[in-house]
Amino acid sequence: MTSRDETPKGRLARGIAYGGTAARIGGNYLKYTARKPFIAAEDRDEARRSMSEKCAEDLFAGLCRLKGTALKIAQMLSLELDIFPPEIRRELEKSYTDVPPMNRSLARKVLSTAYGEQPEKVFASFDSTAFAAASLGQVHRAMSFDRKPLALKIQYPAIRRTIWDDIRLLRGLLKPFAGNKALEPAIHEIQNRLIEETDYLAEAANIRFFHDNLCLEDVRMPQVHEDLCTESVLCMSFLEGQALNHWLATGPSQEARDSVAQDLNNIFLHSFYELNCIHADPNPGNYLIGEDLTIGLVDFGCIKRFTPDFVRQYQRLPKIIMQGSKEKYFEALREMEMVNGDLDRKTEEAIHECAYTFGKWLGRMFEEEYFDFNAHPAYIKEGKEAIRSMFKYRKYFIMNPDILFLDRTRYGLMRIFEQLKCRISLHNQYEC
């Protein structure tokens, strides 16, 4: 028996689900605020943490009830937002691969609507219980008539309409959290991505592109069965392997972790510099680690293409930052249309100061042949500090969406390296 499916789908029902979550979070916050003056200073941290944990559980419960869009948002937020306290991130990270599924009848219905036939007529066998959650849908196993194992990604019905509702409601839900204003651009970007991701035919084309062009050893990619793809069903060959976070939980050796990290880095560098197109969803659930440590890449709903010009300009950036030449730095930024044209001397000086700190931090990764994330557990955190100090000058920067995506992907990758506690050579032929 599967757990029952309780996703509310109407706008009103979803509103109630979100409303309930928001009310509960608000309630917790209120309790904390009311108690605050009476709590001794040393207990305050403890009280604050327990409040965050309670909020996180409520938020996660609320998001999980909505699945679809909310699941996707949870995934994106859990990677991106250090604005959230660690307790909240931990809860959010659960959403990578563990979510309650659509029930069996509904999954069948989506398939029979897509194919105009019962699944039994299309596949030799079809497992109506999902084995993984995907963005905006779930993945089922099937077997083709010529005995090939398949993975079917199935989309929640009427998802597009609910995305708009969900995003609007999410804004309300995030209000009790500090720094929610800074999330606005992220939410806007997420909304656009989500709408794009509902088109499974576009995703099929993406898979085909990477399958044909990203030819790396140790990397596996699914093969699309185009005759069985529709806007709401994606049919591809089945990839063996464990999701990265599950694999990590089995306690793999240092060598194994190093090898996986190196491959992940290669995938990124090769995609960006050779193909000018990256798999822009660095979610641990999207990497399937095989027993031979090869990496299976799944979920190509979110990819990002860059112009060759942009790639060329970006390529020079790490070196310029690390060299510390102010003129070259601002020249490069202006060329990439990343800063406002006229900055006074003082501001320029201050920005450069921050950039220099950031550059020094970046340079540490390349100082020696191998960088050991295990030996520098606070490394990512320090980098975040450097970025945060730059954040003060954000009004002088123009948010270039290309940079936004690139940074998100690279940052996501670094977070994965940190979790892998790997020892990795980051030197590469493209950057330095």
Binding site: K9, S105, L106, S112, E120, A158
Partner: protein, 246 residues
């Protein structure tokens, strides 16, 4: 001429198909039994062995649709693993999928068949009892597997599901969303609610409340009437046994 069971079923099917086509083309009023027979390739008189009236053609269609749905559900590989909620959802979706090809026909006839004022006629009763049998089977399996507690008023629940099915079909007939996605979402959502109520035994609670109301209000009124009747009987007896001589 003797014909086999298989041939009989095929003829039945052919007649129904012809009737559906003709009704979509010409409407119920101008469709004649003779035209149906011609189209189905069956003798003008033979058709009456299968369907004595035009109305019985329509009833025939709906009970045939239930048979088809049941057969198609039996083909679902892992049906035995489905829980009651999934089975009910599958039943609704399968019936609607069957109607899909004949949507115009269903649109024209459904209300007249399923929304008749009482008394419900024989043909309609047959369809309903066929449907209730399927639902009953699903419920019994759920009770047997321990998924659902045994209900006090099963028959009432089954009839609720019949009404639900009629409502779902009417919703589907008015649904103009692409590939009737709204109906799918409607079924999914409403069954969520219904199933939760079933598991929580809400219906049992309501009905026991209702029976309490019934007992305390209606029955007490009935008792009053009974008392009146006693008075009336007494008077009647007195009148009848009235001794004229006295």
């Amino acid at each position: 001429m003797k014909i086999g069971v298989k041939q009989k079923a095929e003829n039945r099917r052919a007649i129904l198909d012809a009737a559906v086509d003709l009704m979509i083309e010409k409407g119920y009023r101008s469709m004649t039994m003779r035209a149906v027979a011609r189209k189905a390739g069956i003798g003008d008189a033979t058709i009456y062995n299968y369907f004595p009236t035009k109305e019985s053609l329509i009833h025939g269609y709906y009970s045939e649709a239930l048979d088809t749905a049941e057969r198609s559900m039996a083909k679902v590989e892992d049906y035995d693993q489905f829980d009651l909620r999934e089975r009910l959802q599958l039943l609704m979706e399968t019936i609607l999928e069957g109607y899909l090809g004949d949507r115009e026909f269903v649109d024209e006839t459904f209300s007249s068949v399923f929304f008749r004022p009482i008394p419900v006629d024989k043909g309609m009763r047959a369809i309903r009892s066929r449907f209730l049998d399927i639902v009953k089977e699903q419920f019994e399996a759920a009770v047997e597997s321990g998924e659902l507690p045994d209900l006090m008023l099963k028959e009432l629940v089954y009839h609720c599901i019949w009404d639900y099915f009629v409502a779902v079909t009417l919703y589907w007939l008015r649904d103009d969303s692409e590939q009737f996605t709204n109906t799918t979402v409607f079924i999914d959502k409403s069954l969520d609610l219904g199933y939760t109520m079933l598991k929580a035994g809400v219906l049992d609670k309501i009905t026991s409340l209702a029976s309490f109301m019934f007992k305390s209000h209606i029955l007490s009124r009935v008792e009053m009437i009974m008392e009146e009747r006693d008075t009336f009987n007494r008077l009647k007896d007195e009148f009848m046994s009235h001794d004229v001589t006295r």
